[in-house]
């Protein structure tokens, strides 16, 4: 009889394992020690599959809410809400033109919690577009795109684009008048793209018109292809955060309890320069007592519980806010889609309304040139501005803040002026009905606005001699223009795309 390592025979061994079954089971699943020691806290971050996205320890400034406003987290939480809610909605929604609208009504009236589900899906979608956009602005203003984070910025722009596509494809699914005509307008704008525009539209719609083929294609894109793509790219986004040394943060004065700097060598260089490329891995932790309580090396804190707890709290707040919103405000659902009777005005989803406004001035400039230029310009930012001073500071400096204010106010004024002139005169086409199209494309509010922004950029650059501050100005101008034009598109455009103050009533009910 061969005894086991405890010296027991078969029966003894079996009894032991039966007694320790639960303990062994638990230990095989939960691979970290109790989280009341730093070792345990480090282990949980490393051993848990979901938590290992995060570093074991983070810099204390990273956790400051006022620095990042948690916008990336908010965007991600909204994405999770959309995925979970969306999957449940898939049990009741049917992507057929003769059933889709009916199913929306079923969700509203019959399905338990159907109304809440549908509302939260819509509001979270709008919220995610806004959050991703604001997150992009935050990253820009804190200079967090600078090397080594350039590539992650580009990944972020791709994510923004995917978010817009997800929202756009989902917009069609209710198959009401709002959905149908918004997508009609949106895909028509797309067809202005030179050479391939019409083919792209044909491919996306599965035909020439918005119908059953378009609905099923949009559905497949919305529930399968785009979410998987987004998740994959999001994975890259998180990975890059880790590998680029965590979130960016402002360089600060050393904290009082920082290690005493060694005397510099004769060359004058620092012996231990701060290294932003370090990832805080387990190897940084030492067994036994740490020299400082609750304060790791270089002002870091353990991710568990500090980071994780804050993330959880923010997630709870986000979910609560959107649930309350969904219980109070219903998502719109108009009459069933009717290809024979266009909505007037037929408006694209709100995040494309600035685009639609520009398109109303010039189809090519507004629909193709500016969007394309914007996308390229966004992606190229981190390859133009590669300094490291001022990283982690909003607007780079007090002067940068002033420039941002100036850019914002002046752009609002310019947009208003151009809009006023366009409405009063009818633009180039109104003044000179026989003018050639290229002239109209060159002189119109869209191109003039673009011209203004470029001039502002170079003038600011000349005056301040700072590339960074000039680009802060340009970016602010661009965001201001976008916001102003969106407001105009949402509230001040009525039937036939005519201008109405928001207190004026439209001619049809």
């Amino acid at each position: 009889m061969k005894a086991n390592r405890h010296g027991e025979g078969m029966l003894g061994g079996f009894r032991r394992n039966a007694r320790l079954l639960f303990r062994n089971l638990l230990d095989s699943v939960v691979r970290h020690g109790p989280v009341d020691t730093d070792q345990g806290r480090a282990e949980i971050m490393n051993q848990n599959f979901f938590l290992h996205i995060f570093p074991v320890s983070v810099h204390k400034n990273t956790l400051r809410f006022g620095y990042t406003l948690g916008l990336g987290v908010i965007a991600f939480v909204l994405f999770l809400i959309l995925v979970v809610g969306g999957i449940v909605l898939m049990f009741y929604y049917v992507p057929a033109t003769d059933q889709a609208y009916q199913r929306m009504k079923d969700l509203e009236f019959v399905v338990s919690n159907g109304n809440l589900l549908r509302n939260i899906h819509r509001w979270a979608a709008h919220g995610m577009v806004a959050a991703v956009f604001l997150h992009m602005c935050r990253v820009f203003y804190t200079g967090s795109f600078r090397p080594p984070r350039e590539f992650n910025w580009v990944v972020g722009v791709v994510l923004f684009f995917l978010t817009l596509l997800l929202s756009f494809t989902g917009y069609l699914l209710p198959w009401d008048q709002l959905a149908f005509w918004a997508i009609t307008v949106g895909t028509n704008i797309m067809s202005y793209f030179p050479f391939v525009g019409k083919e792209m539209r044909y491919l996306l719609l599965g035909g020439n018109e918005v119908g059953q083929e378009a609905l099923i294609r949009f559905y497949v894109l919305h529930v399968a292809i785009l979410p998987v793509l987004l998740l994959a790219v999001l994975g890259v986004h998180f990975w890059r955060i880790r590998k680029d040394g965590g979130l960016s943060r402002p360089e600060e004065d050393a904290s009082p309890s920082a290690p005493v700097p060694l005397p510099a060598a004769e060359s004058g260089a620092e012996v231990f320069p701060p290294d932003t490329r370090k990832t805080y891995g387990l190897m940084e932790l030492v067994r036994g007592r740490t020299p400082m309580v609750d304060r790791g090396p270089e002002d870091t804190l353990m991710a568990w519980p500090h980071l994780v707890f804050r993330l959880l709290t923010l997630s709870i707040l986000t979910l609560t806010a959107f649930m309350i919103l969904s219980l109070l405000v219903g998502a719109p659902l108009k009459d069933i889609a009717n290809p024979q009777f266009p909505e007037n005005p037929a408006k694209a989803p709100w995040y494309f309304l600035a685009l639609q406004e520009l398109v109303s001035y010039s189809a090519f400039v507004g629909g193709v040139f500016i969007p394309f230029l914007t996308l390229v310009a966004l992606m190229v930012i981190p390859y133009i501005d590669r300094e490291s001073t001022g990283t982690g500071v909003w607007f780079h400096s007090p002067r940068g803040r002033r420039i941002a204010w100036l850019a914002g106010l002046s752009t609002t004024a310019v947009v208003s002026l151009l809009l006023f002139l366009q409405i009063r005169t009818g633009g180039m086409r109104g003044l000179y009905p026989d003018a050639p199209q290229w002239l109209v494309d060159v002189i119109n509010p869209a191109s003039l606005l673009l011209l203004y922004l470029i001039v502002f950029f170079f003038v600011t650059g000349y005056v301040t001699d700072s590339l960074r501050e000039a680009s802060v100005g340009l970016f602010t101008g661009f965001v201001t223009a976008l916001t102003t034009l969106t407001i105009v598109g949402v509230y001040l455009r009525g039937p036939n795309w005519e201008f109405f103050w928001f207190w004026q009533s439209w001619p049809v009910p």
Partner: protein, 357 residues
């Protein structure tokens, strides 16, 4: 600090989840169903029915009409529609008037006649009143007759005097078909009216309409004075009275694009409008020919042929007329003899039999 926010946030989330659960549970229709069951318990002595009530759980009731591609959930609240004991109860628990015999709910649903939003399960959602983004609220008063027009294409529709009068006005009094087409018949000077009742609200120009911005109002004002509503219209002002304009409005609203399955259509049949007076003739013919020898009526009569008490819910006028004229051609193997009835007599009998309750 973070802990305070965490605790507060979690509590708020819990509260919100509880609110959502309550909001979803507390449905309007459950209250009506509860009231119906307690009233039913009071009204009935039948032990079997009482047991049924005890067993009943609140549920959404619906009529699925594949032929009209719709679902009507009105019966979730209007539970007493087929129970004669509720004739005096207030809505929604009131019995439906007798026309249901000819138009059983299982075959017609509710919204085919009443309009409104059948998919809804709330008072507001069902569009009892005007509802934003639902352009077909329930018909009120004589506008209900507009619904008859989608299946009944005869000149004289039983039970719809306003609609019938309007059809006569359209063709004979005002000669609208000189300029307007309906179903391919008429002139092309004015717009085609075949589906005018289904035109969406924003396709109407309300700039000069004085009354409320609804379709009936638009039509009414247009009929009273075409140029007042559409300044560039060439439609002549025919000095319609208010009643006439109202009737014409009913007619316009009856011209819908809703798909009606062919078996539901009642085309111009051999029933002529002159024979509108019901059944004194029919009743005496019925007695004269001794129909009760073979057919039972209200529980009395022979059993050789089927009971005729509710035949109106099974057969339409065309079928009955043909059958009276030649029973064995319509029902092979029938034992009913050919009574050699004239067209007028067959008409009378058809009218009489259809009016039976």
């Amino acid at each position: 600090m973070v802990h305070r926010i965490f605790a507060a946030g979690s509590l708020l989330l819990l509260f919100t989840a509880a609110w959502a659960a309550w909001w979803d549970y507390d449905r309007e229709w459950k209250r009506y169903q509860g009231r119906y069951h307690s009233l039913l318990r009071e009204k009935t002595k039948d032990e079997k029915v009482r047991q049924e009530i005890e067993r009943a759980r609140p549920e959404i009731k619906q009529i699925v009409l594949r032929s009209f591609a719709r679902v009507d959930r009105c019966v979730t609240c209007h539970l007493a529609y087929d129970n004669p004991a509720f004739a005096d109860e207030p809505e929604p628990l009131r019995t439906h008037p007798g026309i249901l015999r000819h138009h059983p709910a299982e075959k017609f649903g509710c919204t085919v006649c009443h309009s409104g939003q059948g998919e809804a399960t709330t008072y507001k959602g069902a569009a009892h009143q005007e509802l934003e983004f639902w352009e077909r609220p329930m018909w009120k008063d004589e506008y209900l007759q507009s619904a008859c027009g989608k299946c009944h294409k005869e000149a004289s529709v039983p039970g719809a005097p306003t609609l019938s009068a309007a059809r006569v006005l359209y063709r004979e009094e005002f000669a609208c078909d000189v300029c307007h087409k309906i179903e391919g018949e008429g002139g092309s000077d004015g717009p085609d009216l075949t589906y005018v009742g289904s035109k969406p609200l924003h396709a109407f120009d309300f700039t000069y309409v004085k009354g409320e911005r609804t379709r009936p109002r638009w039509f009414f004002e247009h009929f009273k004075d075409p140029q007042a509503v559409l300044p560039f219209s060439e439609m002549p002002n025919v000095d319609m009275s208010d009643e006439q304009a109202q009737a014409m409005t009913v007619l316009m609203l009856s011209l819908t694009s809703e798909k009606v399955p062919p078996e539901y259509l009642v085309r111009e049949s051999t029933l002529r409008p002159e024979l509108a007076a019901v059944g004194v003739e029919g009743h005496s013919l019925f007695e004269e020919k001794r129909c009760v020898l073979c057919h039972s009526l209200r529980g009395r009569g022979g059993t050789l042929g089927p009971d005729l008490t509710h035949v109106a819910s099974r057969r339409n006028a065309d079928w009955l007329f043909q059958h009276f004229k030649n029973p064995r051609q319509v029902v092979p193997g029938s034992r009913m003899p050919d009574f050699h009835l004239s067209d007028a007599e067959a008409n009378e009998l058809t009218r009489y039999v259809l009016s039976l309750q």
